[in-house]
C-alpha cells in the first residue's frame, strides 16, 4: 500500500433512515453514489444500495438475530482496511448512526488508523414511526420530552442499567428500539415504577416496507399482544400520553 493510496481513503458513517429508500437524505444518496465500498446491515438496505455505482463493492455485515454475522471488531477492521487501500467507504447504518448503532467503536477504529470520519445523519426510525402513525411525539402540557431507549442487550435480555424512573416519566413520550421480545418484561417494571397500565402505546412493525403493520392500545394490551403473538418484523414501540389521539381510534 502506498502512502498516496491511503490518503485518498475516506470513511463515512451514513444514516440510511428507517428503511424506506425515499427517506434517505440527498447527502446519503451522494455518498452512496461516490462509494467504492458499502458495508451494510441486512435490514431493509436494498433500496439504499440501488444508489451505489455498479462497480462498487457491496458487503453485508448484517446483524440479524440468530444468524452468524461478522463481529463488531471485524466490521471495523474491514472498514479501515478498505480505507487504507484508498477506497471511499460508506458504512450504512439503519436510522441515524449516532444512536443504538455502536458507531463509536467504528469511529474509534477509524481514528486509531488515522482516518477522520464523516457522519451523515439520518431520519431515526422513532420519528418515522410517529409520522406513520400521524402522532406527534411532543404535545404542549402533555408530553414535554421524547426519550429513546433500547430494550435489547447483546444478550437478548432487557438491559439492567435502564433508569426505570425516567422511563416511567408521565411527561415524556418513550420510543423503544428493538423491544419486541423484552417489552412485556419492561412493561411490568414500568408499572412497578408507577406508569399507568392505561398509558397509550403503539407498535409499528416493519416500517418502510410493504408489510408495515401497526398495533395500538395501552402499554398493558400491547405488551400482552407482543408476548402472545410476537410479530416477525423489526418493531418500534412508542408509549406515552401524546399517543392518546391515535391509540383511541
Amino acid at each position: 500500500m502506498s502512502q498516496s493510496d491511503a490518503s485518498k481513503g475516506h470513511i463515512a458513517l451514513v444514516g440510511a433512515g428507517p428503511g424506506d429508500p425515499d427517506l434517505l437524505t440527498l447527502r446519503a444518496v451522494a455518498r452512496l453514489g461516490a462509494a467504492d465500498v458499502v458495508l451494510y446491515d441486512d435490514l431493509g438496505s436494498a433500496g439504499a444500495l440501488a444508489h451505489a455505482r455498479e462497480e462498487a463493492e457491496l458487503i453485508s455485515v448484517g446483524k440479524r438475530a440468530g444468524r452468524h454475522a461478522p463481529k463488531q471488531a471485524e466490521v471495523s477492521r474491514l472498514m479501515v482496511a478498505y480505507a487504507a487501500l484508498g477506497k471511499r467507504v460508506v458504512r450504512l447504518k439503519s436510522g441515524d448512526p449516532t444512536i443504538f448503532s455502536r458507531a463509536d467503536e467504528e469511529i474509534c477504529a477509524a481514528h486509531e488508523a488515522g482516518f477522520s470520519v464523516e457522519i451523515v445523519p439520518g431520519v431515526t426510525t422513532a420519528t418515522a414511526a410517529a409520522a406513520h402513525l400521524g402522532a406527534a411525539l411532543t404535545k404542549r402540557l402533555v408530553a414535554r420530552r421524547v426519550q429513546f431507549v433500547t430494550a435489547h442487550e447483546v444478550t437478548g435480555h432487557l438491559p439492567d442499567d435502564l433508569d426505570l424512573g425516567a422511563l416511567a416519566d408521565p411527561l415524556a413520550t418513550t420510543c423503544v428500539f428493538m423491544g419486541k421480545a423484552t417489552f412485556p418484561a419492561l412493561a411490568e417494571k414500568l408499572f412497578a415504577h408507577g406508569l399507568s397500565v392505561e398509558t397509550p402505546a403503539a407498535v409499528v412493525e416493519s416500517l418502510g416496507t410493504e408489510r408495515t403493520a401497526v398495533i395500538k392500545g395501552t402499554v398493558e394490551t400491547v405488551a400482552a399482544r407482543l408476548k402472545e403473538n410476537p410479530p416477525e418484523g423489526a418493531c418500534m414501540i412508542l408509549y406515552g400520553a401524546a399517543l392518546a389521539d391515535v391509540c383511541r381510534a
Partner: protein
C-alpha cells in the same frame, strides 16, 4: 452569495434567420447545435473545410461563400461568429451591435452578448447547463450526469404534453386544477405508455383522464407536514425534496433557511409563519386554519418545519385540525437537529455501558409555566439534548445540578448544526451558564449533556466562556 453574470433564457428561433460566420470546426460545432432547432440557418464561409461543407449540404443549410452583407446581419435573430480572426471577429460583433442583433463570438467573451450553455436534448424538453463561463468542462460533466438520468425517450413526455396542451387549456381554466392534471399525467399510465413509444395510446389515456378531471368536483388539496432537517439543503430526504418541488404553497417557519424555502417551485406561494424566540408572527390556531383553507382551495401545501415535524413542531395540533376538517395529509419525517448536532462532533448519543437512553427536551420549560420534571432528565446514564438552547443555558445547568446531575457532567453545544456557520463548544455542566452571555452565538444552538458526550471528537471545540485572547482581540 455569488450572483449570476449570465441569465438563462430560452430564445424563440422558429422560422427566424440565425447566421453563422466561419470556415472551420468552431463554426461546425455551432451549426450542429443549431441544426436541432427550427431556425433558418445561414452559413457565411469563404473557404469552408470539407467537413463543414459536407454538413451544410447534408442538412440543407443555406451557404453563402462570401462575407455577410449588412442586410443579412440586420435580418438575423442571432449571429454566431467563429472566424478565429481577431479583426474580423471585432468588425462583425460591431456590425451586429449596430443593428441590435445579439452576437456570440467563439472564445471571445468580451465581444459576446450571450453565451451558449451545454444542452441536454430531449426535445421538446431541453436542459441548459451554464457555469457563467467559468468551467465548461464542469458543465459537460453535469450534462453527462443528467443525460444518464433521463432516458433518450424522455422527451416523449414533452411531446405528449404538447399534443393535449390546447385541449387542457380549454377544459381546465383553473390554474391549480391544471397543475394537478399535469402532475397526474406525468406520473401516470399515460406517461408510461409515452415512454414506451405508444404515442397514440398515451394520448387517449391522457384525454380520458382529462374528461374525468373536468367532471369531478374540485378536490381538496393535500397537506404535507415536512421535516426540513437541520438546515443544509442536502439533508432533506428524497421525499421531502420531491413534495417541496410539487407544492403550490409552502408554509414555513422562520428557522427554516431561505435556501431551503427557495428550493420549491418558482411560482409557488411562500408564507412565513415564523416563530423565532418569542416572536410569534402567527398564532398556532391561525396556522391551523390557514392550512385547512389552503387545502380546501384545492392546493397542494407543504408545511415546512425545521428538524422533524413530530418533535417540538406542534405538528399534533395541525394534524388534529386537518383530521377534523377531513383534509388529506401526510407527515414526511426529517433529520432531527439532535442527530445533526451529534454528527458534527461524532458524539455517540447512546453508548453501551455509558448511556442507555437519549432524552430530547426544550429549554423553554426552564423558564415557562409548564411542568418540567427535571429530575427525570437527570436520569442515570442518559444523554439529554436540549433544543432551543443558548438563552436558557444557565437555567438548564442550574436545574439539572439541582436535580442531582454532577456539575462535572460533560456538555457540548453546537450552534448551526448541519448548516453553514457551525460552531462547537464543550465543557462541563458547571461551565455551561457562560454560554448564555455570549450574544455573538445567535444561530440555533443544541446542547448535549451526559457522560457519552465525552466520547465525541471535541478536539476543536471552544470553551463556553470566551477565552482571554478572544476577548482582547474583540476589544
Amino acid at each position: 452569495m455569488p450572483r449570476f453574470r449570465y441569465f438563462p433564457v430560452s430564445f424563440d428561433v422558429a422560422a427566424k434567420t440565425v447566421l453563422v460566420v466561419g470556415d472551420g470546426e468552431a463554426a461546425l460545432q455551432k451549426l450542429r447545435l443549431l441544426a436541432r432547432t427550427q431556425a433558418r440557418l445561414v452559413l457565411c464561409a469563404t473557404a469552408p473545410t470539407p467537413t463543414l461543407l459536407a454538413f451544410v449540404t447534408e442538412q440543407g443549410i443555406r451557404h453563402a461563400a462570401s462575407e455577410p452583407t449588412a442586410d443579412l446581419v440586420r435580418e438575423a435573430a442571432l449571429l454566431f461568429v467563429a472566424t478565429g480572426d481577431p479583426v474580423r471577429d471585432r468588425w462583425l460583433a460591431a456590425l451586429a451591435r449596430k443593428f441590435g442583433v445579439p452576437v456570440n463570438v467563439v472564445d471571445r467573451t468580451e465581444l459576446c452578448d450571450f453565451a451558449t450553455p451545454a444542452i441536454v436534448d430531449r426535445a421538446p424538453l431541453s436542459i441548459a447547463i451554464a457555469t457563467d463561463g467559468h468551467a465548461p468542462v464542469l458543465a459537460q460533466l453535469v450534462r453527462a450526469k443528467i443525460e444518464a438520468l433521463l432516458p433518450p425517450a424522455f422527451g416523449r413526455l414533452g411531446a405528449l404534453a404538447e399534443s393535449v396542451r390546447d385541449t387542457v387549456l380549454d377544459s381546465l381554466p383553473d390554474n391549480a386544477a391544471r397543475r394537478r392534471f399535469w402532475r397526474a399525467l406525468f406520473n401516470g399510465r399515460a406517461a408510461v405508455a409515452a415512454l414506451a413509444g405508444e404515442v397514440e395510446r398515451a394520448r387517449v389515456i391522457a384525454l380520458k383522464s382529462l374528461s374525468d378531471a373536468q367532471t369531478s368536483p374540485v378536490r381538496s388539496g393535500k397537506v404535507f407536514l415536512v421535516g426540513a432537517g437541520p438546515g443544509a439543503e442536502d439533508l432533506l430526504t428524497l421525499r421531502a425534496h420531491r413534495v417541496l418541488l410539487e407544492a403550490d404553497v409552502i408554509v414555513h417557519d422562520a428557522l427554516v433557511p431561505e435556501a431551503l424555502v427557495a428550493m420549491g417551485r418558482r411560482d409557488a406561494t411562500r408564507i412565513a409563519v415564523g416563530k423565532r424566540k418569542g416572536n410569534h408572527t402567527m398564532h398556532q390556531e391561525e396556522i391551523d386554519l390557514l392550512l385547512v383553507s389552503l387545502a380546501r382551495e384545492g392546493r397542494q401545501v407543504v408545511r415546512l418545519k425545521a428538524g422533524d415535524p413530530m418533535v417540538f413542531g406542534r405538528a399534533g395540533e395541525e394534524i388534529a385540525a386537518l383530521r377534523a376538517a377531513g383534509i388529506d395529509h401526510e407527515v414526511v419525517p426529517g433529520v432531527s437537529a439532535t442527530f445533526a448536532a451529534a454528527a458534527e462532533a461524532a458524539i455517540p448519543l447512546t453508548l453501551r455501558g455509558v448511556a442507555s437512553h437519549l432524552v430530547l427536551a426544550t429549554g423553554h420549560a426552564a423558564g415557562g409555566a409548564e411542568p418540567d420534571g427535571w429530575e427525570a432528565l437527570a436520569a442515570s446514564g442518559a444523554t439529554v439534548a436540549v433544543h432551543m438552547g443558548r438563552s436558557v443555558a444557565a437555567n438548564v445547568s442550574a436545574r439539572l445540578i439541582a436535580a442531582g446531575l454532577a456539575s462535572s457532567t460533560p456538555v457540548a453545544a453546537i450552534e448551526n448544526a448541519g448548516r453553514d456557520g457551525r460552531r462547537l463548544f464543550a465543557g462541563t455542566l458547571a461551565d455551561l451558564p457562560a454560554l448564555a452571555a455570549r450574544s455573538e452565538v445567535d444561530g440555533p444552538v443544541l446542547i448535549l449533556i451526559g457522560p457519552a458526550v465525552a466520547h465525541g471528537d471535541l478536539t476543536n471545540a471552544e470553551p463556553f466562556r470566551p477565552s482571554q485572547c478572544a476577548v482582547s482581540a474583540a476589544a
